[in-house]
Symmetry: C2
Subunit: 472 residues, 2 copies
């Protein structure tokens, strides 16, 4: 409970058998996990203090970084038109989600004055050649500040973009002035970007070594982009700190992150292999994308901590209310009972919009007149939750009193702790991603990168595709 | 096979047991469905000729509409700055997907000259009050043409937007001139918009009565928005016509739509309850959203055609290559074997981008130098497919020789036919959506709409939420 009405609320009524009947979760089921929850909590506390879960320190230990970033932003923002993140995965999803949540929905289309003097934001998180080319059509690269984000400095996608754009800059602004157009976010001591920064004198921000990509939004990775667009990063961290303390409670009934994970754990073990996140707010749309990486990469694992093959995981699905009521709700209501649906609600939107009392003679639209769009979206959310409950489909709601930097900080920290806790309940490592190596190695082999000769041979010797399984 | 190299290619090698082992599909499995496939084909042909699947007539019977649209676009495009679709679900997803596929990736940020004189495009497909307010900050509504798209004219979301914006226009441009700012796309004879159009003299385009929302992109619903942004709608229809003929073949080995559905049918019956669409092209990103509605709403059904409760359905999941390799691939490779992954590939992108041969001393990035981003994205796609195959995860590829209006028309028609065929195989109705009524009725009840008194009573009498299942 908090007095400022700033706390997120987790409402899991419609997960429970009391509402959805035999398929629902019972109070006893949660109780029966008591010992497992206690052990998982102990592990969380151990990891937190032993430097094995450093994302939990981010809200508390970055006062110097905040000052450094603010000083940097103030020094450069007037000279640039666009801040451009070159990053992928955790380096991109967080910055996109926070920007979308906290700034104007058409931010890049506003004048600089309406952006309060802050630059536009672009996040280039793919290697599609049409995207970078298209990007170059709408910006003047001399007025761009490129933020290369990669801990190792060896991410092929990000580094290829950097190689292309640095060359262009050298030709356009010259090697002497280029330092005004490039800033790195990378490791403190290791990796290619550290080396390059030293050699060329580029400014660099540090990603703490114990913080993995998908847990890095509240490190320099996310804070720099956010501050550069005028977002109050101290509030982000304050919200995260507030939630971190709340989610340090052992009592699952008082800990929203633990309860979120516990309910998912029960639902998953009953065969629900999807977790749908469905915000009822355009501003929160990309929080689902961010959550999708966090949940998928953290708990989708072949092995458990004892090395047993488990092929565990639950697939995150992105949806948007009310929009996807006209796309996915048919399936969610009538289809298989194979998912948990999380709605995100907003109590107080930043704007209010009245629907005028017109067309009084047309009964099936006139009932809308005199109400606000705010009421409409609230009622539609409640209706969807009610309809899902009536179809015995598990759903829970996370309610934002308002969407602001504080509550977004809360949400990020809550989801990260929930994910770590889910890893404990499942007895898997929520902090690695060994399964992406196979594809990376195949890429290196096809590029004839030294050291990957045997992978290349394996690929050449593998069964080649057959024409009979191709339709042209 | 086609000579112009314009045909989409379906490559399903990695669905087969020959590659992924025991979990894969065998040639015999497909053979054993022969009789079911024959019957389903017969049903498709009967429905096609009997007016029960009218989306198949769209590519062949709209020459007059095309002329009418082109004439209209030419008459109005110079006077407007933005074309604004007010629509949701099928009225929005198709227009967004086609625009993203065929126009510049930052189309709205280009000057009108670079847009060849065509207006910007906005699609307002939610009732979030922040979205419309934000939209009003970046446009001059006097220079907007609002396209209200709703067959019944009673879609609450769309009609509430219309009510708000029409009032604003009346105040700003006046009732006499407003006809230049509003155009409807609706039914020929029935519904509120027909009535309003008559009364106020608004121009109206017709949605054929036998074409449902998610199958309507190649009707006036999608064609008007596309033509308004300079897209060649005749080519769209030509591509669809070409594919429709190809997909009228009875032989499943020669019919990509039938094969797509058949493979999904087998995979689903083995427990794979997800269909992931993962384009390796930013231009095709929103085709996944469009497919997600088509697949979810069509085959997610409680009852089969005999009225038996089946709770059928497969959940579509949107992903993007290579971006989601850094988000979802860990789960797809190592997690449960519960999905079919469809990659969309592009042979020839519209642009080529060279990665310069720099940093030769840094071995783990220098291997990229001298190659193009086109090669990088191609190789990464192949690597992902290979890695998934090596983890025994089913995946197939649809290859676009190029992304243009012709191939996009092909893709739309292929997916719609595949969806209809999947409905036949599953013995369900792929053309209705009864499951969305519950939520709509709850919304009407909460707004005290006349006729919904008993629903309101039911909701009031339902078990109310308990504080003990809420964490604040």
């Amino acid at each position: 409970m908090n007095e400022n009405n700033l706390g997120l609320i987790l409402d899991y009524n419609y997960m429970m058998a009391d509402y959805i009947g035999g398929k629902g979760i019972t109070a006893q089921e949660i109780e029966s996990l008591k010992e497992k929850i206690r052990l998982s909590h102990n592990n969380m506390m151990i990891k937190k203090t032993n430097g094995m879960m450093d994302f939990r320190r981010l809200p508390f230990e970055q006062m110097d970084l905040v000052s450094e970033i603010k000083e940097y932003v103030n020094a450069v923002k007037n000279d640039i038109e666009a801040f451009v993140v070159l990053g992928i995965g955790g380096s991109a999803l967080g910055p996109i989600a926070v920007q979308q949540a906290l700034n104007h929905p058409y931010y890049n289309e506003l004048t600089k004055e309406k952006r309060n003097g802050y630059p536009r934001l672009y996040v280039l998180d793919n290697v599609d050649p049409e995207r970078i080319s298209g990007f170059l059509d709408v910006v003047d690269i001399e007025k761009c500040l490129f933020n290369v984000v990669s801990k190792s400095g060896s991410t092929s996608e990000t580094m290829s973009q950097f190689m292309i754009l640095e060359k262009m800059l050298e030709e356009k602004v010259g090697s002497d002035k280029i330092r005004g157009n490039i800033v790195f976010t990378t490791d403190r001591e290791k990796g290619n970007l550290v080396e390059i920064a030293k050699k060329k004198g580029y400014r660099s921000f540090v990603i703490p070594s114990g913080v993995g990509g998908r847990y890095s939004e509240l490190s320099s990775v996310g804070l720099l982009a956010a501050a550069m667009c005028g977002i109050d990063i101290e509030e982000l961290l304050k919200g995260a700190a507030y939630m971190d303390e709340l989610c340090s409670r052992e009592d699952v009934y008082q800990n929203p992150a633990y309860m979120f994970a516990t309910l998912h754990f029960i639902a998953m073990n009953q065969g629900r292999n999807m977790s749908v996140m469905m915000p009822y707010a355009d501003s929160l749309k990309y929080m689902s994308d961010w959550y999708a990486q966090l949940w998928a990469e953290s708990i989708g694992k072949k092995y458990d901590l004892e090395g047993k093959v488990v092929h565990a995981g639950q697939t995150p699905v992105k949806a948007l209310g009310v929009t996807d009521q006209h796309s996915q709700l048919q399936l969610y209501s009538e289809g298989p009972d194979d998912k948990v649906i999380i709605t995100l609600g907003v109590k107080e939107y930043k704007k209010e919009l009245m629907i005028p009392a017109v067309y009084e003679e047309i009964k099936n639209i006139s009932f809308l007149g005199g109400h606000t769009q705010n009421e409409l979206i609230h009622i539609e959310q409640a209706s969807t939750e009610y309809a899902l409950m009536r179809s015995s489909k598990m759903n829970m709601a996370i309610l934002f009193p308002r969407v602001n930097a504080f509550t977004i900080g809360e949400f990020i920290q809550m989801m990260e702790i929930a994910t770590g806790f889910m890893g404990e309940l499942m007895n898997i490592n929520a902090f690695d991603q060994p399964g992406v190596e196979e594809s990376k190695n195949a890429t290196y082999a096809m590029f004839n990168k030294p050291g990957y000769e045997s992978k290349r041979r394996e690929m050449e010797e593998a069964k080649q595709k057959e024409e009979r399984f191709i339709i042209r």
